[in-house]
């Protein structure tokens, strides 16, 4: 829903993950100038002082001699971001650091902060082989499998929803709507990292960009939600959109396995899921027609809990007080949510328009109580 912010988050998380690899222990010991790479940017060039440097802690000393604001990236060969610095004004200098393993990289300057940038190939050589906690690799692998499984399980549910719409069966479509979203909501930060899919499947009417016409440009779950609950009828356009939803979700299912996932992106993704609850669900904005907000709410919390559970063995060693608190706050929020469903094996929750003001505040308080310590999970993982 907010591709710009998420792109940045992913970048930060990646850089952080690399920092985590060595724990930043060499920061102070790096007096040797070998690892300071001068980057001179102009409006049409991007000069680097050295194209080969030892692996480890490196520092980019950037000078913008051009007339445009620029940004500088250190990239993996597949364009994933190692580190970046934005908003480097004309005539100014900036420094940015990163931990790099031996291997090939690129440095890119983006004058005007647009486009693919002007690139230079560079290489990190020798150096200490960086080792990371194998438990974190396992956590990432397990989370990747979880994300894929969620997408795989979502598709048949979404197809059932789409079929009901295409059959013109309003009642059946209403029933199938919320369950079709659970897998997406559980993995929302990863799902959203595909900036092109999210606006097609999960945008709300007010999330359309300037110049987009709701009549023609609004697609996805919430467009159908409005038809089913507010208009109470299914027309040809809705049937067409149901088909398009399946096409887009199939695209997601195919690509989700390639998402860039790191221990810190998992930790910050868990916090992101709670942010989703705090800004969209607890206010009732997300499902304003169907009022199925608590289903999304539960799914967001479950997704956060999954990331947390996978990272917990490492986080518990680094910050036992934090994981004790997180265990407690997750349990409290889960218990509170259970008060809104008669059967804890089902996802039939109280419609959110039946949840009073005081109860909404209680839910909001519980979200704050969990999200605040959860925001410190990434630090506990990289310590």
């Amino acid at each position: 829903m907010r591709p710009a912010r998420l792109t940045l988050l992913t970048a930060v998380a990646t850089a952080a993950a690399l920092a985590a690899v060595t724990g930043c222990t060499e920061k102070g010991a790096d007096a040797d100038g070998d690892r300071v790479i001068g980057v001179t940017a102009t409006d049409d060039t991007c000069e680097v002082s050295t194209k080969e440097f030892p692996a480890g802690h490196v520092e980019l000393a950037i000078e913008n001699k051009g007339s445009k604001v620029t940004e500088v990236y250190l990239l993996f060969p597949d364009d994933r971001v190692v580190t970046e610095r934005e908003n480097i004004g004309p005539g100014t200098r900036q420094r940015v650091t990163a931990e790099v393993k031996a291997g090939d990289y690129r440095i890119a300057c983006k004058p005007g902060m647009r486009g693919k940038g002007i690139r230079q190939d560079v290489k990190a050589t020798g150096g200490k082989a960086v080792k990371r906690d194998p438990r974190l690799d396992e956590a990432v692998a397990a989370y990747r499998a979880y994300v894929q499984a969620q997408a795989d399980e979502t598709l048949p549910k979404a197809e059932a929803f789409a079929k009901a719409v295409q059959d013109g069966d309003v009642e059946a479509a209403r029933k199938a709507y919320a369950p079709s979203r659970i897998g997406w909501e559980r993995t929302e930060p990863v799902a959203e990292s595909f900036g092109d899919i999210d606006p097609k499947v999960d945008v709300r009417e007010d999330g359309l960009e300037d110049g987009q016409d709701p009549a023609t440009d609004w697609t996805g779950w919430h467009r159908l939600e409005k038809a089913l609950w507010q208009d109470g009828k299914i027309g040809d356009r809705e049937k067409e959109l149901a088909g398009r939803l399946i096409t887009d979700l199939t695209d997601w299912q195919k690509r989700v396995g390639t998402a860039d996932i790191t221990p810190t992106s998992m930790a910050n993704g868990a916090k992101e899921l709670l942010d989703e609850v705090a800004t969209g669900k607890v206010t009732g904005e997300e499902e304003r027609y169907s009022h199925t907000d608590l289903v999304d709410f539960k799914a967001n919390v479950e997704g956060a809990e999954k990331s947390y559970a996978l990272l917990k063995p490492v986080a518990r060693e680094n910050d036992p007080a934090l994981t004790r608190n997180l265990d407690k706050q997750f349990a409290a929020l889960d218990a509170l949510l259970d008060e809104y469903r008669p059967d804890t094996t089902s996802y039939e929750f109280t419609p959110y328009d039946k949840v009073g003001k005081a109860d909404r505040k209680e839910l909001s308080d519980a979200v704050n109580a969990l999200a605040e310590p959860l925001s410190r999970l990434a630090a506990a993982v990289v310590k």
């Binding site: 810190t264 930790a267 704050n368 109580a369 605040e372 310590p373």
Partner: protein, 414 residues
């Protein structure tokens, strides 16, 4: 990184560079600021940017000179674990100690781990201490928890219903409160925001109120502030230098009981909505009759100067000053510290504004309750309505580095 100041220009450092604040900065570094406390010369060193001492026999923010801005927040406790709540009080004390000295919370607002949110939210970086004071109080409902029933002061009963009250539950009560006053609103808001953040999971914000334009003074100011009705307010308020009157009317004495509250006080908070538009259409004569003072000078009826002794019988029987005066209330005297508030408009286009009344007293039964009952016939009631209400027991001051807010209540030995 025990002190983020080593790396970054802190509010304290900036203060030091300011020249006049140099000595103050040095004192802050030693953890013992001693400027502008009650009983000292109230105005010495208490310029708008200075720091007010956090440690003392009484909490700052009561008898210390009134600042221009307020952020008041009432909290409810959500934890049942006494140790967890005590830990919160200690964390809050440390954060308050730092913020009142113009320093950021914890390890600061930047320079820490890039993948974790900073300890301090950062919006007060580069601002001076701005005479920030943070004052904590405990509500009656707190004593239903943590086996505190036996320690609840007799005087700490929910306030009775008063004539004309139209209280909103969502703006009333609370297990505890924090009063943040500062000359810069950003500093006051920063303080409450950071305390609320530290409190997540243990306490929740129940309600809060922003205030501006102090409506009373605790110093012998050259000019008495005015409320939103345009009248001077607080002409006869207790000054921070009047130790006798403070002892008599504000501080809870050792014999008043309970022991843990000695040196503390009771705080009454009332959100008083003012019907601004109807007031503004009221004739000057009626406005002056309602208060019992003239609008320009502030002189009581029949007198010429603001500080002339009021002659109550010259006022109308329902004049506000006549009914509120200590002589009409068996000597009851409150230390008022209220602020004007405006929360935009109310949906009907009327200004949602009024007086956020804050009053400290030695005993609410002989203080606010006594006076407020007498105000049942107040002519001012036509133009105001009490819409929020809370009462708190305000513990004594934090004595030193090792002390913490509420220690006397929560420590077994106290």
């Amino acid at each position: 990184m025990t002190d983020g100041n080593a790396q970054t220009p802190s509010r304290r450092a900036l203060l030091g560079w300011g020249g006049a604040g140099l000595a103050l900065g040095a004192a802050a570094a030693g953890g013992a600021v001693a400027v502008a406390r009650a009983g000292d010369e109230p105005d010495a060193g208490a310029g708008a940017g200075a720091a007010v001492a956090f440690h003392g026999a009484h909490q700052a923010g009561i008898a210390t000179p009134v600042q221009d801005r307020l952020h008041f927040a009432a909290f409810d406790v959500t934890t049942d674990d006494r140790a967890e709540f005590v830990a919160l009080l200690k964390e809050w004390t440390e954060a308050a100690r730092r913020m009142t000295a113009g320093r950021p919370v914890g390890e600061g607002a930047h320079g820490g781990l890039p993948e974790a949110p900073p300890d301090d939210t950062g919006e007060a970086l580069g601002l001076e201490p701005s005479r920030l004071t943070l004052t904590i109080g405990f509500g009656p409902s707190l004593f239903d928890r943590f086996d505190l029933a036996g320690r609840r002061p007799e005087a700490l009963e929910e306030l009775p219903r008063f004539a004309g009250d139209n209280l909103d539950r969502d703006r009333s009560g609370g297990d505890l409160c924090v009063q943040a006053c500062a000359d810069d609103p950003q500093v006051a808001v920063h303080a409450v925001r950071n305390l609320a953040r530290i409190g997540f999971g243990r306490v929740v914000v129940r309600w809060s109120q922003l205030g501006f334009g102090k409506t009373s003074s605790t110093t012998a100011d050259t000019q008495t502030p005015r409320n939103l009705f345009g009248f001077k307010d607080g002409t006869r308020n207790i000054s921070g230098a009047e130790t006798d009157r403070l002892d008599k009317h504000v501080w809870v004495g050792k014999k008043d009981g309970p022991d843990w509250l000695a040196g503390g006080s009771y705080l009454v908070a009332r959100r008083i909505r003012m019907h601004i538009e109807t007031w503004d259409r009221t004739s000057l004569q009626e406005q002056e009759d309602v208060f019992g003072r003239d609008k320009g000078e502030g002189a009581p009826v029949g007198r010429t100067k603001e500080r002339d002794e009021p002659f109550l019988k010259a006022m109308k029987p329902d004049a506000h000053v006549r009914l509120a005066h200590p002589d009409a209330n068996a000597g009851a005297t409150l230390l008022r510290r209220g602020y004007s508030f405006t929360d935009g408009t109310d949906g009907l286009g009327r200004l949602d504004a009024g007086l956020f009344f804050l009053a400290y007293q030695r005993d609410p039964r002989t203080g606010f309750i006594r006076v407020q009952r007498n105000l049942a016939q107040d002519a001012l009631n036509e133009y105001i309505q009490h819409v929020g209400s809370a009462l708190f027991a305000v513990p004594p001051g934090v004595r030193d580095q090792g002390d913490w807010w509420g220690r006397t209540l929560f420590s077994q030995e106290a």
